[in-house]
Symmetry: D2
Subunit: 305 residues, 4 copies
């Protein structure tokens, strides 16, 4: 693990590595494959890594709790980039293996669930063994523990396997979102197409309090793209909310909304402002542009001379 | 009319003069009695007066349109003080006049309406003549045009009349609110018990727009004490809103609400921040105090180093 | 005054009579010219009239307080029709009078205010005398008390005068709105382009309470066209609100909003549902149509069998 | 599996069985231990069971996705009861086993996570093996596969083991909530302390839409105790919301809120109204009681005769 480099959720050949190659191909060459999410993030916190890429959310399975809980409960980190990768499953084996000879297939339980129909149609008699990651399944195929693995195509390349069959997910179009995490303090420049992520703890646990929270954004013309409740762990019925808003901390409408959130909440944790994966510019109402804020501020200043 | 002095809605002995005596007894000694509201305000605008006191609102009759329309449509002025005076009607006549000898009573039409029952019971046969102000009625009694006037007790003192009967209003407890108007620019210091008055023109004329307007205050913990719609004169269904909020321009919650109002409205006219007549301190929610604003600003500043 | 007929704010030739001719030309032939608004409404309440037409609002001057206060404080009546009439001022005199011979012009104070520029330009030396109505001014010209009157063109026809000059208002386009009032109980059929008028008394006098009130309409997709505050007369800062909404009592979205209003308010007075003067159909959101209400009701009924 | 009986998430000795014993001790005697959540619910849907008890939520781990996803995506079922059980972990072994002789401990991964500190302190050298449920771990201890299991105390009783150590959770006070599911149509009677659960799909995926949704409840005085977002599976950023409100379908405020929700949402799935586990009566604002609804309805009916 080289001080100041990048890390990702390993082992080599995971979907996370595929995501990192898309985000930053050069850094991907020398990046460290962390054994799990907490290890990756701990290395960032301690400074032995500059940043780490980890999965955050899947369009079918929802949040990756390991990552979200680390962000909520662990020592603070901020998101500095996101990347979306379509989930693409391939069946891979050692060179020379025929499909008909596959008896034992290993993969991650999520991949089992998402390739169930293909397996029933093409390998009805094979034993399917759950492993802790799709890439690890590929490693174990290379080590001749199993006959085949279901994993990202990249895993074949990284572990010297061949792809027997590509695109075997039962349902096409599932997408996973990965985030790059760094130590707090540095905020990427605004691009006009940014996301800001925070976690908010309400003071009171009722409908009115959540309305007030949402109003902090709505009133300032800031749109939300995600609202995710997580138990705080205190008691049943105690939640915090992970919120993702379209806009950047440096915009006055976003800054005012965050400050308002801070005042009405028991606690707010800022998790970063960073460019949107899809690059779609935020739709800012006329009354909430930086120019509108500047004009209103100048007007206010002119009232008392 | 002395340059730099005070004016009030005259003639001598009006309720406005009584209000001025309560607000500023020394200045009242030398204040100019303006013939009408526009004349008083014009003198302030031109600089021949520093300020003028005029009636603004009555608890029974509502707004004084002459004053409100001047504030809305005329060259800008700001309110620097307010004073509330209970309306107290007295019947007054020249010394030596007996109640039984009163045949012709003069007063302002509002006073006729508010003493109707007393007149029916005590002067059923007297002719009641409307005049342009209660004080002018007293002047004309002194000039022997009428036998008696219904006016503020002060009018008797000012025009050398005697009070035949005091407290003759049919309904006790009516209150008139007077405001002192000055040229814009100087804002009285915050006292913790202040009112801020503005006039707002909505961009769109529907329920949602007015909700947004009210939300600018509610969201920042600023309470309203008055909302008065006035036609803009453009067409049926076109209104602006005179709004009075509890708080002072120098408070961040008020400043942020006004700036928000400015952004969402077609136009906003600031009419001043000044001490409340009743001195009751504003109830500021914990989440909207100046300290809470300062803390949230500091937090925000710490997010990007 | 014929039992069961119509009345209007007289005398003959007022703008109200002109409005009645537009609304119901046949009834206008035999309608009773009431001396003032309270007299007209009292005759309806007592049953000697079926209904009466009175002015309600002017695009420049705002509400007609006499009418609004009767509706708010008097024995209940409901609005069953409205009509908008453009204010058109004419100078009229007895046949044979030359403009140059006009020395004394009578009219209502509002008409003085709205023809000031024309008078200054064309009759700079004439004395202008305020009268209690424009039609009464015409009556007095016919009676040779004055040389000329400023009134509605209809007044010339009704009092045998000739129009010397038409369209003399300084500002064109002012509109007055008239309403027909009847005893409560009968509601005109819905037309798809209706107004519903109510007066609401808040329980609490703060911004939040007014927000809740407006929300009762906004949440049900009911748009407001007018919100007018009036003092209740109790104390400074105590108001009720006259509210006009687009829609008809028989629509479920309107009925639900009114019932909601009733629950949150100290008191609500229903002032009628009636066709809009301009016939513009209400824009009803998809989620608030009668069909949407019916579907949601059926769904609800199916949940517990 | 007896037709018409009860089922629960087995095997014998799970926390779910402990919960069932608390909820319905008699039925618990003959209840069927289902192998997994889908199997239990399928038996209810097909009619071979009347109802089934399954875990729904944990105060530390959050929702039980298997149950929530079945409720959201599977053929409709409704909740007819809930029960909260404090999580209490015990270490259990075959009679005669000494703590010092324990080499291999089996349990569910969640239990591993929640007893990590105790294990490090008292069994630092033992191998800890994950199993699919705590009760299954106990079964395998009885079958001499492992030396000890961490499970609910009930599991010891059911599988003839002895408790070596009780209360070994690192963090006390974690609570799991279980729900009893039945076929739709029958709604338990209102008790005054009820919960209503629904799943709502927004038409539009923005802050305003969620505000509208929450407002449907807040405006009718209905408080929420839970709001949980779940991906719909369509794409990143597409969620539905599981909502739990305090109140019962038979209350007009709740019925009106649900009907409103139905109108504004793309879809709403009703998941039942049932007594609250803690029996705390709902705080119903004066303006939202059944009596207030009845009064407002009667008022409305009286407006048109």
């Amino acid at each position: 693990m080289s001080g100041g480099g990048l890390g990702f959720l390993g082992p080599a050949g995971t979907f996370t590595e595929a995501a990192l190659r898309r985000l930053d191909p050069v850094a991907a060459e020398t990046a460290w494959a962390a054994p799990n999410v907490p290890a990756a993030l701990q290395a960032v916190r301690e400074g032995s890594l500059d940043a780490a890429l980890v999965p955050f959310e899947n369009s079918v399975e929802g949040s990756v709790s390991a990552t979200l809980d680390e962000l909520i409960r662990g020592e603070p980190l901020v998101i500095t980039a996101e990347v979306h990768v379509e989930v693409e499953f391939a069946l891979m084996a050692r060179s020379g293996t025929q499909l008909s000879a596959v008896r034992r297939v290993a993969t991650h339980p999520v991949a089992i669930a998402q390739t169930r129909e293909w397996l029933a149609a093409h390998l009805p008699d094979a034993e399917v063994i759950p492993e802790s990651s799709t890439a690890r399944a590929a490693v174990l195929v290379a080590a001749e523990v199993y006959d085949a693995a279901i994993a990202a195509p990249l895993a074949a390349e990284r572990h010297d396997l061949v792809v027997l069959e590509d695109g075997i997910a039962d349902r096409q179009g599932a997408v996973t979102r990965f985030i790059r995490l760094a130590r707090p303090g540095v905020v990427p420049e605004a691009t006009g197409a940014d996301v800001t992520t925070v976690v908010a703890y309400l003071r009171h646990n009722h409908a009115g309090a959540l309305l007030d929270l949402l109003n902090q954004f709505a009133m300032r013309g800031v749109d939300l793209v995600r609202l995710e409740s997580r138990p705080t762990g205190e008691a049943l019925g105690q939640y915090c909310f992970a919120i993702e808003a379209l806009g950047h901390l440096s915009e006055p409408r976003v800054a005012e909304a965050l400050a308002g959130l801070r005042r009405i909440c028991a606690d707010v944790r800022y998790l970063g402002s960073y460019p949107r994966a899809d690059g779609a510019p935020a739709a800012v109402p006329d009354v909430a542009t930086a120019a509108a804020y500047e004009e209103s501020r100048a007007w206010l200043d002119g009232l008392s001379r």
